[in-house]
C-alpha cells in the first residue's frame, strides 16, 4: 500500500481518514479526490499472464503453424478421427438388405415409424402427404430393396426425404420391414386413395 511510500518527511500530504491511505496532492475534481495506491500485484500478474498467453498463441500460429490453430488442419484432423472411428460405415456396401421378421427388429422399426415416418404417412400407415402404406398399391415397387432404397435416397421431388444420414442402414431396414410385415394389409382409419401400381 502507498502508506509505506513516504520518502520525503517534509512533503505535505493528506491521508484518507477511513483507509489511512495517501491522497494525491492537488487532485480534486468537483470534490473527487484520488488515492496514490499502486496497482494491485495480482492485477499486474493477471495482465502479464494474459500478454504471455497472447505471445505464445501468436507464435504457435505464425511460427509453428500449430494444427489446433490452423482451421483447415483442425477440421481435417476432426474428420480423419471420425473416419477411423467408423469402420462399420465402410461396410455399407456389403450391407445385406433382407426382410427382417424377428420381434425385436419390428419393434425398433415401429419406434422409428412412429417418430419419423408417421408425420407424413400417419401412424397406421393410412397416408397423408405421403402415400398409403397399407394397401396393395406401390409407386416405387413393393420389394424390401425397393422400400429400402426409397428410405435411403428419398424422392425429393415429392417431398420424401433421404434418411441415409439420419438413420443407420439397420434402422432403415427395420422400418421398411415393419411396413411390409406389420402395416401392409391392415385397414387404416382414413386410408388415402391408392397410388401407383397394384402388386
Amino acid at each position: 500500500m502507498a502508506t509505506d511510500n513516504i520518502k520525503n518527511q517534509n512533503e505535505d500530504y493528506e491521508l484518507d481518514t477511513l483507509t489511512n491511505e495517501r491522497l494525491i496532492k492537488d487532485h480534486d475534481y468537483d470534490g473527487i479526490r484520488e488515492l496514490d495506491n499502486d496497482l494491485p500485484p495480482w492485477w499486474k500478474w493477471l495482465f502479464y499472464i494474459s500478454i504471455a498467453f497472447a505471445i505464445v498463441y501468436l507464435v504457435r500460429l505464425f511460427v509453428f503453424n500449430a494444427d489446433d490453430l490452423v482451421q483447415k488442419a483442425e477440421y481435417k484432423a476432426e474428420m480423419e478421427g471420425f473416419e477411423k472411428s467408423q469402420p462399420e460405415k465402410v461396410a455399407e456396401a456389403n450391407f445385406e438388405v433382407v426382410l427382417l421378421t424377428d420381434d425385436a427388429s419390428l419393434a425398433n422399426g415401429m419406434a422409428t415409424w412412429t417418430k419419423i415416418c408417421a408425420a407424413c404417412h400417419l401412424v397406421d400407415g393410412g397416408g397423408l402427404v405421403g402415400p398409403n402404406m397399407a394397401d396393395n398399391f406401390w409407386i416405387h415397387g413393393n420389394k424390401v430393396e425397393d422400400l429400402y432404397n426409397i428410405a435411403t435416397q428419398g424422392v425429393l421431388e415429392k417431398g420424401m426425404l433421404p434418411y441415409k444420414d439420419q438413420l443407420s442402414n439397420k434402422e432403415r431396414l427395420e422400418v421398411v420391414s415393419y411396413i411390409l410385415v406389420k402395416l401392409h394389409g391392415t385397414t387404416p382409419a382414413t386410408p388415402k386413395a391408392p397410388q401407383g401400381t397394384e402388386y
Partner: protein, 709 residues
C-alpha cells in the same frame, strides 16, 4: 486568489434524463415483446412490422442508442461542467444535440419496423439517418471539446478521458462501417462485401459495445461512484494504466465475433489474443469502482443508489471475464450462434448499463429537483426485482445455449447426427424461453417502479435550472509533472493520442484484408446474383431473416453433416452486405439451395418454401418462425432495380455494362419459371409476388460451389 463566478445550466441534463427514462421503457417493452414472440410465434399475426425480425433491431437500437445513449449524455452534460469548472460551451449546440438525437431515435422507430434496414447489427439505420447521426455526433463533439478548452481546472479527470475516447472512436467506427452507396433515398449497398464487410462490421459492432456501452459508462462510474459515496478513487495509477490499455486493446477484439468463420486464421487469432488481454484492463475499471467504496460499505447496505452501482460494476466484471472466455475458440465453438451470447450481452446491458443508469438517476433526479427521492423503499424493491429479473433472464438462456449446442453436435454411435431435425433442438429449450420471458417481465416491472418513483420525486420538488459555482480564473502552474500529468493538462494532445491509439488495431486488421489477395480466395464458379435474387435478398434483409438464420457453416463435422460443405470466403464476394448472421434460432441457410446428393442437406421444392414462409406452423407445428402471409400477397417493388444493379456494379459486382436494361426482363423470366412451378404444385400465386423473389434467393444459396459438378 482571483475567484470567478459562473453558472451550470441543468436544463440539458434534465432533458436527457427524461429522454433516458422514456426510451428505456420503450426499448425494454419492445425487447419483452420480442421475447414473447419466441414463445408465441403466431403472436405477430402476420403483421409485417410486428414480426420478430423487424422488432429485434428496434429493441437493440432503442436499448443501446436511445436508453443508454441518453443516459450517458445525461452524465456527460451533468459531470463535464462540474469537473472542469465551466459551463457547457454552447446551449444552442446542446439543444441541437438533444433534439437531433431524439429525432434520430424517432426516425429509427419508424424506419426499422418498416423493414428499412442496412442489416448490419447495431448499424441498421439507413443512410439518411446515418448522416444525421454523424452531424449530431460532430455537434456533440464540438460542444464537449470546446467545454474542455474553456476549463478552469488544468488537468482533465479520468471521466473526461473516457468521454474523449468515446467521442473520437465512435466517430471513426460509425463512419467507416457505414461507407455505402445509395440506390435511392431509403436504400443503399455497403462498399464492402462478404468477409471484408463482416470484419468491418464486427470491428464496429464489438466496439459499439466497447465505446458506447463501456467507455462512457466507465466515465459515468468514475464521476458518480466517488460523488455518491463521498470516497476518493482507489488508484489514480490504475486509472491511467487501465484507460490506455482498454482503449488500445478493445479495438482489436472484433474478429472474435467471426471465429471458425471463413475469416483467415491470422485475423481470428488477433481477435482471440486481444480479447484475452482485455481481462485485466476491464477488471482495472471494476477494481477502481468497487475499491473506491472501501470504508463506505455501511452506506452501500442502505443506499439503493450505491447498491445498484455495486451490482452494475460486478456485472461489468462478470461480463468482461465471460467475453474473453467466449473468445477462446474452443468455448466459442460451443457458445456461438446460441442463446449463450444473448445471456452474456444482457448481463452487460441489464446489469452494467441499466443499473448504472438507474443508480445515477435515483441520485440525480432529487438533486436536479431540490428534493429527496420519493421512496427509498420502492427504489430498494426496484433493485431486488431488477436483480432477480436479470438472473431469471440470463440463467435459463445459459442452459438453453449449451443444451442446444450440445444437441447440435451430438452423434449416434452409428456416426449420424442424434438430432438431425433442427426443430427438436428448439423444442427442447422452449421452457428456457418461457423463463427468460418471465425474467424480462420482472425486470420491466422494476423499471415501471423506477419510472413511478422518479415521477413522484420530480413532482415533489422544483427544478433547479442553474447552479452557481466559483473557481480560480487561471491554472496554477505545476512543476515536475509526470508525462501523463502533462498530457492531462493538454486535452487536444490527449484527444490526438487517444485517436492514434485506437486507430492502430483497426488499421492492422482491416487494411491487409483488402490488400492481401490470399485472404479471400477466388472461386471461379461464384457468380453475381440474378436480378430476382438481388430483390429476394433485399427482402431477406428487410424481414430480418439473418437475425435467426446464419449463413456460415463452420468447419466442424457436426455442421458439415447437418448443413453441407463448410462456407468459404470466396463464396460471399458479391454479398453486399454480408449476411452471416450471429444467432441460430432457426437452422443455417448457407446451403439452402444445394442438393449435392452427398450430405444431409437437401434442396427443398419451391412449394415447400412457399407453404413454409406463409405458414411455418402448417409445416411443423412446433416451429417458432413468424408467419409471412403478406409476402405472397404483396407485389415485388422493382422500381429501383436498375439503380441497384448499377450501384452493385460500382461496389465491385461484375454485371456487364448496360445490364440494367435487360435486368427487368431477366427478373420476369426467372419469376415466371418459379411461378409456373408453384402453380403446377397447385399453389395459386402471381409471378410478381415478393415471395417468388425470396424463394429464388433461398434456392440460390450455397449453390455456386457446385455449379461445375
Amino acid at each position: 486568489m482571483n475567484l470567478e463566478k459562473f453558472t451550470y445550466d441543468n436544463r440539458l441534463s434534465k432533458m436527457f434524463m427524461f429522454a433516458t427514462i422514456l426510451w428505456g421503457v420503450v426499448g425494454m417493452l419492445v425487447g419483452l415483446t420480442a421475447a414473447f414472440e419466441l414463445i408465441f410465434p403466431t403472436m405477430s399475426g402476420g403483421i409485417s412490422w410486428l414480426s420478430f425480425g423487424r422488432l429485434r433491431p428496434l429493441h437493440t437500437n432503442a436499448a443501446i442508442f436511445a436508453f443508454v445513449g441518453n443516459g450517458i449524455f445525461t452524465a456527460i452534460y451533468y459531470s463535464t461542467p462540474r469537473l472542469l469548472k465551466t459551463p457547457m460551451y454552447s446551449k444552442l449546440l446542446g439543444n441541437i444535440h438533444f433534439w437531433g438525437w431524439q429525432l434520430i431515435i424517432v426516425a429509427a422507430a419508424l424506419t426499422l419496423p418498416l423493414g428499412l434496414t442496412q442489416s448490419k447489427e447495431y448499424a441498421e439505420l439507413i443512410w439518411p439517418i446515418d448522416l444525421a447521426v454523424v452531424v449530431v455526433w460532430v455537434v456533440f463533439g464540438i460542444n464537449l471539446i470546446w467545454t474542455i478548452l474553456n476549463r478552469r481546472i488544468k488537468h482533465i479527470y479520468v471521466s473526461i478521458w473516457f468521454y474523449i475516447a468515446t467521442w473520437v472512436t465512435v466517430a471513426v467506427l460509425y463512419i467507416v462501417n457505414n461507407l455505402q452507396i445509395p440506390t435511392s433515398l431509403l436504400h443503399s449497398y455497403p462498399i464492402y462485401a462478404g468477409i471484408q464487410d463482416a470484419l468491418v462490421q464486427w470491428w464496429y459492432g464489438h466496439n459499439a459495445v466497447a465505446f458506447f456501452l463501456t467507455t462512457p459508462v466507465l466515465g459515468m462510474m468514475y464521476y458518480f461512484i466517488p460523488k455518491v459515496s463521498n470516497r476518493p478513487v482507489y488508484s489514480y495509477k490504475l486509472s491511467i494504466i487501465h484507460f490506455w490499455a482498454l482503449i488500445f486493446l478493445y479495438i482489436w477484439a472484433g474478429p472474435h465475433h467471426l471465429l471458425y468463420s471463413s475469416l483467415p486464421d491470422w485475423a481470428q487469432a488477433l481477435g482471440v489474443v486481444f480479447s484475452i488481454m482485455l481481462i485485466a484492463p476491464s477488471w482495472g475499471g471494476m477494481i477502481n469502482g468497487l475499491l473506491t467504496l472501501r470504508g463506505a460499505w455501511d452506506k452501500v447496505r442502505e443506499d439503493p443508489v450505491l447498491k445498484m452501482f455495486v451490482v452494475a460494476v460486478t456485472a461489468y466484471g462478470m461480463s468482461t471475464f465471460e467475453g474473453p472466455m467466449l473468445s477462446l475458440k474452443s468455448v466459442n465453438a460451443l457458445s456461438h450462434f446460441t442463446d449463450w451470447t444473448i445471456a452474456h450481452v444482457h448481463i452487460g446491458t441489464l446489469g452494467w448499463n441499466a443499473m448504472m443508469t438507474f443508480g445515477m438517476i435515483y441520485w440525480l433526479a432529487p438533486k436536479l429537483f431540490k428534493t429527496k427521492i420519493y421512496s427509498v423503499k420502492l427504489a430498494n424493491v426496484h433493485f431486488w426485482v431488477a436483480t432477480l429479473g436479470m438472473l431469471f433472464f440470463s440463467i435459463p438462456l445459459y442452459f438453453a445455449g449449451f443444451t442446444q449446442s450440445l444437441m447440435w453436435k451430438e452423434f449416434t454411435t452409428d456416426g449420424l447426427l442424434t438430432y438431425p431435425d433442427f426443430l427438436e433442438t428448439v423444442t427442447q429449450i422452449m421452457p428456457m424461453y418461457y423463463l427468460r420471458a418471465f425474467g424480462g417481465t420482472l425486470y420491466f416491472i422494476g423499471t415501471l417502479l423506477f419510472v413511478y418513483n422518479i415521477i413522484k420525486t420530480v413532482k415533489s420538488g422544483s427544478f433547479l435550472a442553474t447552479e452557481e459555482d466559483e473557481a480560480p480564473a487561471s491554472f496554477k502552474s505545476h512543476e515536475n509533472e509526470g508525462w501523463h500529468r502533462k498530457l492531462e493538462g493538454r486535452p487536444v494532445q490527449f484527444t490526438i493520442a487517444a485517436l492514434v491509439v485506437i486507430l492502430i488495431g483497426g488499421l492492422i486488421e482491416i487494411v491487409p484484408m483488402y490488400l492481401v489477395k490470399s485472404n479471400v480466395k477466388t472461386i471461379s464458379s461464384v457468380q453475381p446474383y440474378s436480378p430476382l435474387e438481388v430483390e429476394g435478398r433485399d427482402i431477406y434483409i428487410r424481414e430480418g431473416c439473418y437475425l435467426c438464420h446464419s449463413q456460415m457453416i463452420r468447419p466442424f463435422r457436426s455442421e458439415v453433416a447437418r448443413y453441407g460443405e463448410y462456407s468459404k470466403s470466396g463464396e460471399s464476394v458479391y454479398d453486399h452486405p454480408f449476411l452471416f448472421g450471429s444467432k441460430r434460432t432457426g437452422p443455417d441457410l448457407a446451403r439452402e439451395g444445394v442438393n449435392d446428393g452427398v450430405v444431409n442437406s437437401y434442396r427443398k421444392p419451391n412449394s415447400w418454401h412457399f407453404n413454409h414462409l406463409v405458414d411455418p406452423q402448417k409445416m411443423n407445428t412446433a416451429s417458432i418462425m413468424p408467419q409471412y402471409p403478406y409476402l405472397a400477397e404483396n407485389a415485388l417493388d422493382v422500381s429501383i432495380l436498375e439503380s441497384k444493379i448499377s450501384t452493385l456494379r460500382r461496389v465491385g459486382v461484375p454485371y456487364p455494362e448496360g445490364y440494367e436494361d435487360s435486368a427487368l426482363a431477366d427478373l420476369a423470366a426467372q419469376a415466371k419459371k418459379i411461378g409456373d412451378d408453384l402453380r403446377s404444385s397447385g399453389i395459386n400465386v402471381d409471378d410478381e409476388a415478393e415471395i417468388i423473389a425470396l424463394i429464388a434467393y433461398l434456392q440460390r444459396l450455397g449453390t455456386d460451389l457446385y455449379k461445375d459438378k
